[in-house]
Symmetry: D3
Subunit: 176 residues, 6 copies
Amino acid sequence: MVVADDFFLSGLNKPGNTSNAVGSWVTPVNVNQLAGLNTLGISAVRIDYAPYGLNPPHTHPRATEILVVLEGTLYVGFVTSNPANPAMKNKLFTKYLNPGDVFVFPEGLIHFQFNVGKTNAVAFAGLSSQNPGVITIANAVFGSDPPINPAVLTKAFQVEKNVIDYLQAQFWTNIG
Amino acid sequence: MVVADDFFLSGLNKPGNTSNAVGSWVTPVNVNQLAGLNTLGISAVRIDYAPYGLNPPHTHPRATEILVVLEGTLYVGFVTSNPANPAMKNKLFTKYLNPGDVFVFPEGLIHFQFNVGKTNAVAFAGLSSQNPGVITIANAVFGSDPPINPAVLTKAFQVEKNVIDYLQAQFWTNIG
Amino acid sequence: MVVADDFFLSGLNKPGNTSNAVGSWVTPVNVNQLAGLNTLGISAVRIDYAPYGLNPPHTHPRATEILVVLEGTLYVGFVTSNPANPAMKNKLFTKYLNPGDVFVFPEGLIHFQFNVGKTNAVAFAGLSSQNPGVITIANAVFGSDPPINPAVLTKAFQVEKNVIDYLQAQFWTNIG
Amino acid sequence: MVVADDFFLSGLNKPGNTSNAVGSWVTPVNVNQLAGLNTLGISAVRIDYAPYGLNPPHTHPRATEILVVLEGTLYVGFVTSNPANPAMKNKLFTKYLNPGDVFVFPEGLIHFQFNVGKTNAVAFAGLSSQNPGVITIANAVFGSDPPINPAVLTKAFQVEKNVIDYLQAQFWTNIG
Amino acid sequence: MVVADDFFLSGLNKPGNTSNAVGSWVTPVNVNQLAGLNTLGISAVRIDYAPYGLNPPHTHPRATEILVVLEGTLYVGFVTSNPANPAMKNKLFTKYLNPGDVFVFPEGLIHFQFNVGKTNAVAFAGLSSQNPGVITIANAVFGSDPPINPAVLTKAFQVEKNVIDYLQAQFWTNIG
Amino acid sequence: MVVADDFFLSGLNKPGNTSNAVGSWVTPVNVNQLAGLNTLGISAVRIDYAPYGLNPPHTHPRATEILVVLEGTLYVGFVTSNPANPAMKNKLFTKYLNPGDVFVFPEGLIHFQFNVGKTNAVAFAGLSSQNPGVITIANAVFGSDPPINPAVLTKAFQVEKNVIDYLQAQFWTNIG
């Protein structure tokens, strides 16, 4: 039987633990945490940033994100998909955001938020899917299990194998 | 030409003016304010509540809402659609929300938030459409232009005409 | 195993029993009555109206409705969602319909049909969902189980508590 | 500016002219006749059948149809898509319908209605698209402009060319 | 547990057996053969054509098809849905395709491919559904189980019953 | 006026020019090249691979891809989105593909194909959108215009700035 608690979750007032390599943490509220979101096409997150903390470049394969800054100053950006003209580069759109500023990251595009201030920063975001998914680029490309064949990555990034070895040797942690 | 500002809006740090009949204000961030949301299936709002302020019963004809409380204590609820059994009543689901609490209002259902504390309250919400729409029940039913024929409303609400006259004579203002 | 009867239902030739408070009855043909509609995005209803019978203001949270009048004269209308300008009112669109007239009630908007003639009226309607849902405004707002807190409703409708008490004291029945 | 008439159409009380080769007529109410249906995902038709009139085998490429019989007795049916097992045949599901009976024709499947009574028959139907489209099989296959190459049709239908010539020589008219 | 093989299928390098009445074969790769396609909205086919082989007129009730010719010369076409003006005919669009040519068959429209060369032909196609469905017109109309009542077909195709008897007496086989 | 050529494109028989840094080329057939695909939800590509050529890690923000190998041997893979458990790694699914093998890359996930043979390889693929988009990870992350701030990338990839400088200094070209 359906009850009010199926549509309820608490805890978004608690800062996430940003004591990790990138200095940020994402607290998700999607259908995995809140069953009442099923089929309803929306979810939310709280994002905490330590000073100079980074929500590293990532995509949501099934959602657009609308982010509101509550505290701190964030440098945010997203990169467009490949241009029709192969001689052109992918465009980077960036903005400095302060409390009350809103920014949109369109579905599937690589984006990031970087706390450029000396204090903690906090943001809330809505996502246009009950199950948006997250792909942290560094983790998926250099930290997968098993690792991607270095021959693929040396060619993809046009660098020597030792650079790829170095990148794959880092300790990768997801932040939510 | 597309620029970063097409995906940017400022001002959600500013409290809405709650000096109105219901003591609340909704500051919208949808495709009408932020053109970059077009086709992206999401929008957001900031809601301010004076002490005992009410975001009165309303629906979003094209969106589910996920609400996060930032400050204050809200009594929130939604009413289910008509039960299959006509002898049953529409069910009301309610919850008291404190900062960090999240609640979901499924698409198209009547819902409200009421500030039951002595201080201002603030919430942010995401909505699953770039153009969710809002229908404040009292305004749409008793304050439309032109007014709905009182014969319709006396029968619908099963009351004397003077009650409907009284309801239609109130001053109706939308709050965002 | 699938058979022809999975796509069949009988009985829409029988008038609904309009001996109730509002003088109308809705006979639904959606996925709850006709399993073959599952995933197919459509359903239908027959609506019967006694003289001066009313299909009271309601919404379908998940469907647009296209209505065809078979017998009688109906006064029908819907109210638009809140205008962008808070100083403006929600607009009411109305029309008198005679046999053979068609009217559209867009998804999620509050609408009604009122039999303004001295004879029974009958209409058929298609709805753009196999499970459109119905929310009768009066029942959902004033007749829910449990009732909505009168403090919410007095503020929402800007009336004295005794008016709300009176409205909540009526006997509410759904009509299909 | 939007007005009530944008959501209104009259004339579905008038029988269609069934004086044609198949003895039926379809009066459509879709976005081409009723602009207010745009984006709303639904449309309707009135279908008239002379005695022994036929709404010949056809498909709607973008819609499911829910049909209600108002007058007369119809023999209706649809054929399923090709079975996974090539040794099996496409299944035909049929039903005799009388006034008040409802039948569903799933999206894209070939279906027909045949008036098996000695009197006129009338049906209304809803379709799950504002622009459902109609493909009358006989007209599209044997009456297109220009005609399909007879070599294609002799092989497709496994008959002599004179049979195809004969079929292509008939006078084809659409019925709405 | 999900594994790579859930997203894998082999065998599309093998020509289909075209020793049948129409001289063609369709090898499908949809959700029935490849479970990993579930919910992902796409599928594929390989089509083999003997000299003068035909993929006979058919529709996909739930998908658009984009076809690429690998070998041979195909005469392809599709027929539009009924024109708004009943006095007009359904339009046939055709094209001769050689290796490397691409053609689009919009969702739900009747289409065919005919090998007009003296050698085998091969094509690959993508379809916009994990479960597109196929309706071979000849099989569905003249070869269903049970057969469609000849009275329906004589009127639909405006021919004598013996022509319909002849058409229904052919041996119908699906080709994939 | 619509004509057959609106649904036609030639040239997919011509190998793409793989004389570039990664040794592969993608020839697209989407709504930008073939206007008739508009609203139809599908597109296609031809992919050519020189010996040891790589279609480098990339995503399609709006489409699933189904790939068929025509010639050569490809090592292909995709990486899942972040696991719910932050202590787990993103999973890599890989497969060696030979002619006739089919593989699915789900919407929005990072994937690649690597020609592990000594000869050219060719594949065709269908994509579940008329405008799928492509984001080549290396180009979007290290070759955007303007470049992403190195402080973001050093933290994201957990490496020294000189490694990021080196990665950003490569010459990036898109391959289609």
